[in-house]
Symmetry: D4
């Protein structure tokens, strides 16, 4: 589509009429591919370090298939969130190396493992077993974006010694993702133990006055520990993405 424009741009660069920096700059804001129902931003990889991620909820199977198909043509690693198994089946027929993560509801394509700095790991913690699907969404997101990830699950504050038993791991982690439902107190306790950034993910696990995750969300926003940033309820992807951005800072 932008073939001509990109061609001339590249030629000009080759001819020395444009610095590398200028060329990259122009490529960053290049037009997108228009599928009518979606505008694919193939340059996001350049701008933000990872291809456009597909939010499947509310899309038809056909739309997800078409988008994934196009993205798979231009990118080595792609990610789709909140995908049903039905969507995955459709995608796999066109993109055979797609994988499905049932618990986390993710479709991933990973054609080449990104380089990973094993010294700097992201620690994903969950308060309970029931929070694991959201925690896995965060962990797999961070992994596909090129991070070493460690997991510690079921360390809610009601058994504080289980959490204290992880103190060393907490202190070694470069970024922490804390996933908790119910009252979400884990974020505050970890926030007070860690000297690194904590990304808190409230989950909708609970019942009654939990109001679909509101209790944990408010709890995390009001954390008495500084150094905690919060993402939307059940937004494992957002937490994994933000953790990855921070973990890649040098």
């Amino acid at each position: 589509m932008d073939i001509d424009y990109v061609s001339s741009l590249l030629k000009e660069f080759k001819a020395g009429g444009m610095s590398l920096e200028e060329a990259l700059d122009k490529l960053k804001t290049l037009p997108y591919e228009d599928l009518e129902f979606a505008k694919l931003d193939h340059h996001r990889m350049l701008r933000q370090g990872f291809a456009e991620v597909v939010f499947c909820q509310g899309k038809t199977v056909e739309q997800v298939l078409a988008i994934m198909n196009r993205l798979a043509e231009y990118n080595r690693s792609i990610l789709a969130t909140r995908a049903t198994r039905e969507m995955y089946e459709a995608v796999r027929s066109a993109v055979p190396d797609a994988q499905y993560h049932e618990l986390a509801r993710l479709i991933t394509v990973e054609r080449q493992k990104p380089a990973v700095d094993n010294e700097r790991f992201i620690l994903v913690m969950s308060a309970g077993t029931s929070d694991i699907p959201v925690a896995e969404e965060a962990a797999i997101t961070a992994e596909i974006m090129g991070n070493e990830v460690k997991r510690v699950y079921d360390v809610g504050v009601a058994g504080i010694h289980r959490l204290l038993g992880q103190r060393q791991l907490i202190e070694q982690a470069n970024v922490l993702v804390v996933v908790a439902g119910m009252e979400g107190a884990l974020a505050s306790v970890v926030g007070g133990m860690a000297a690194k950034p904590v990304i808190a993910v409230p989950t909708s696990i609970g019942y009654g006055a939990n109001f679909g995750g509101l209790a944990a969300l408010l709890s995390m926003l009001n954390s008495c520990a500084a150094g905690v940033g919060v993402v939307n309820i059940d937004n494992g992807f957002g937490a994994g993405r933000l953790a990855s951005i921070i973990n890649h800072m040098r």
Copy 2:
């Protein structure tokens, strides 16, 4: 007012026409004193072990004065909550031994120290310094109702070692009152450490998405630790009262 009725009742008891148990039973549901704007339940001491407590908010100074005046005539210990200094000044003119607790906004009259079992103490904990007024309301309430009370303030979970330093005290306490604003996580952590009942009091301390104590309230209601009962936001009195009832169980 019920003089005649009570007289005849007492005489019948004295004459042996009624057992002690029956006499007490009848006295428990005796009519009250009617001040038109208030119906004073002078028999509550018999029914529930402490005189009627005056909730001053929304009452005029004159009403508080009149009620306290009447209660002071029939009871050794009386308590008024959410009282302004102005109310206290009025009360003191009529009830000279009334005392005012500025921080806790309580008026107390205590003519005879109740017997206290020093072995069984109530531990009142606060997450922050700003929660102390509510904590004091609970503590003083429990004290005037005949309990040994210990206080541990400013042990919020963001500095978990400060809390862990109180483990022995927590284990020794007979009943625990946990007062916390912001995200209220202290209740869950203490609930997991203690084998005794925990009464959680959310406070309105905080700002923004705290929504006047809602964050702490929801947090405490959703506590992942069992054994936690919650009272209304800023309701130090209610917590102290409930702690006292439990602490007197034998």
Copy 3:
């Protein structure tokens, strides 16, 4: 079970085979069993008087099965809440003496009846017939934890004489659990009649401006009767647990 482990640990330290730091570190976190997706706290029986209780909601059948299987090995009495029949079927195949309480959605294993003090009973009351599932969750929880439990159901305040007819039972009870949906007024009325602690459980029974139990919850938190502690909406387990803790106080 960890006696051996702890003994050898202490001996190794005394013998100089372990630094102070290492010993300290190991002791701080008395081991739990790690199933990866869950950390089983086999010491909770020692710390809090009852084994870890399994909250089934949000867990897979496989996870519930694995956890129950391990707990059943170490404990005489175990409890799982919010369990589906499907979960129960799975558990029973491995733990044949497991029982299912359909209405209360509980799985219980009770290999030896705990000693019960029949003089001190917990009274579980429900406002309506529709509140019974939550009331049963509370009652069965209290029973498996070693309490005498009496039940009085369908005594909502709209027919106050039905409630007054229970006055004697209310006065005899050692702890009261009041389960009510709709406007939850039962807690306030019982709170005013009883001189013992009242644990109020709002239920989600109702419709419209009930907002999933919010009406009853707010009502109970704002109870004009002191001596009332509130647990989460539909949290029969929490109420039964708290009642049991209080009822065992001597």
Copy 4:
């Protein structure tokens, strides 16, 4: 008073001096008096049995004065709600027989007592002393509209025997107005005792999770007793007005 206007209008039409359309248009909208910032509906007395009532909140003192002045010219009884003392002072200068009810924040003018059927009385009940201002707003409203009103204050459900002591009065009343803050349980209990209509008025008395009267409001809307109609929080006037309409039914 508009008889002349209407008569002349009809005559002009019959005489052909006005088209059908014009006549129709004029009759459709029986005139009100237009003060620019207010349109006074002098015909409301005819349509609904009482003059337009002035809601003072949000109006300037000048606007209240002007409106009251005009209403006082055409009506024997007038009523203004949520009036400040400053507004009253201004009104009194122009309407010397105006009276101010400080607690209820009402201004009334009553030049001729309406006929009252003493056999049929409205019973206004309040749960606490702090609810009296709203209760008085209801009671005075009903009185000026020609009803016998009885008052029973401070009969909240936490002392159920105080309420039961009023059973006879409750059974004799023709309409009941129940004013309660906090958890508002009084409405349900009275609703179950009375065979007559109950108008429930939640008040904003309380704190914390009361949320400005929301707790009492939801409680009353979810009342397990049928036969209860609810008005807005603190809306004593509305309750008095509705009670009066019902009480005048024959």
Copy 5:
């Protein structure tokens, strides 16, 4: 159950040792029938003029069947609300003259038409066609309780002339029930047109910022027209019951 007590009571009355009034009074607060999961109040007919109404939601089919079966033995007219067809099928097997009202989800048994005063009718109005199920619940409730009911449906305020076309009927009605979802404005407009009591029923019809009927509920509570009492969202039964009580006032 209370046979002996009632027998002796009746004998005493017959013997002249008790006035009719006294006998009725005692019967009003007679004990109820205890089905364990429900306490049937067979005397409610005496106290409030209609038998206990069964709220089916949250009850099992077996419970509904047992309760209806017992009520059908003692009463000429019975009513069950929020009943499923499955419940009805069960009830009909035991109570063959039971009828089901699909739209209104009511089961009724009516063995003898109550006397009805045709001069005094209740007008049930709905804003839209979608509000009819709730309106029918109100209408049928009022009918079985012995009232003449007229229905006017689909007269929402967006086509104000449709509503104005009903002015005569509105003015003739003795009590008005206004059922409306969405913004619920119909209650305010009718409230301004009628000189009789208006019972407003918000419905959950709508979507988005309707929040399950909250929009209509708040709208009706804040009605600028006085004389409007509000019941819970979708509570057609409550409205019909209250309308019936008012309509029977003489």
Copy 6:
């Protein structure tokens, strides 16, 4: 169609066969067709430029069929919103030229294309692919009401260059409809770019703290750009209708 009726009515009045009052009364309420469960307003075309639109949610299939059948007799273009496929199948059997728009859940009948001014177009924009169903509801509504509509989908603000790429179209549009879920920021950005009216439609697309579209709704209501009017969550129809009214202004 009522021309004859109205003519004869006027003639009868002039001839004296009808009193003024009667004539007035009849004219006030120009007749609608009464189907008992619905009152069809066949004059709406005259009053507001388009036939009554059928809101199908909450109606039975039979009701929708009957209403559509009648409307189809009197109008060239008709529209039904929130229709299920089942409703459509029923309608098509009676109105064979009815069409169904699956995504937008609309049934349309369009017998004669209305005249359209191609120079003045409405631009319907969606933030994401998942918002398209609501956007299509708006677009098709505007089209059937005689407007040229252009669509630009998937231009959310997270890829601002995709939006800026549409600047020219935005400046040329006569009215803009902005459909967005999640945080709904698109409305503010477009509102700042356009000098024409912007109609913002929040959608319920999102999860967690989106609370069914509340996040986008509040966002749009608080837009820092002036010139934005908001409709209900997911109310594509309302937006299309309002856009059409504005677009027809000359």
Copy 7:
């Protein structure tokens, strides 16, 4: 600041190297004046037809003064909203022709009356007298932006004939602004009467379950009349601005 850039641009235009359209286009997105604490967008007049409007709330008096001072240098008409009298006094000292509208809290400077098409007027309606401040904010905003404005105040739906009396004016208006607090029903009724766009402004007038305007806001968003766009609570300015944009469409 951009003097050089603008100069060269203008010269190029004069020299014919740029069309008028191109020149305007470039001027539209010219840089702004940077006051550090504010970035003044002096070209908004070109882009959107009116100068940047100053939202004073949350700004210091000094900031308002500095901004107004700069705007007054470049524009003929300027507007500041939510201004205190103190702000006005400060502004007037620097901009002597500034005027203050106390009720509407607006500061205006209007050096040259804009041309106004008297045939096309905006009708601003208020439900009550207390809503007038917001209504005036809308009216004055529309006037300074060059519109003929008519006002009709105090025509709430509780006295529907007062509203119907304005039918002709409503039908003649080109755009309608409906300002209402309490239940906000006026918007729906006017929306059903008018064939022109209706901009609904909820106000915070009311009390109790009004929740600061929420009741009116939800009511208006759920209006059963199509053709209604809603702005924020008390946002008279936004309504006036949107009405002006629509009214200038040709």
Copy 8:
């Protein structure tokens, strides 16, 4: 400072003067300073890189003074948030080098400028002038913690070209803090432009349906741009702290 204490403790243990249990216990809880109403955590500098920060709201002037006085003795840089001028005056009398930042309500003591890496700066952006107080709280917090901070204020999305004019700065920043009230859309737009972490701070600036910052909060939590972490409403301090932690990662 506790080096001596810890050394002697270890020596005593080795020498046998202390049991393992005792040593363990003492080490577990490294001492803090106990002021009774506050527990000062002088070791936080070691654990988290900055001294304990004082949250002044809800504390008395005396408490703030005492705490600051103690902290000033042990630390080079100290910070108190939400401080009133009165608190500052008291602190300054004891800590003469304390400074007050009126707008940001901060008290700072900075005795030695921390080393700052000027290459890595934090960019603090505000949507409006009214958001500056919160933005300054974030900026000053980050500065005292040793970061280079740049500020860009008043770049709300309604004038998108003002924001686009900052693209270079946005791309150069190492961490971004976005402060916005009203609809908070700035966070999403910046989140889409930046490849670095974005910390979003909703402010309570706005009115009506802003609900004290809720609109901006929900908007930011639902941001369609990944890589955004949110802190509490008006929590400039928390944002500055988190930004500082991230900015110091190497």
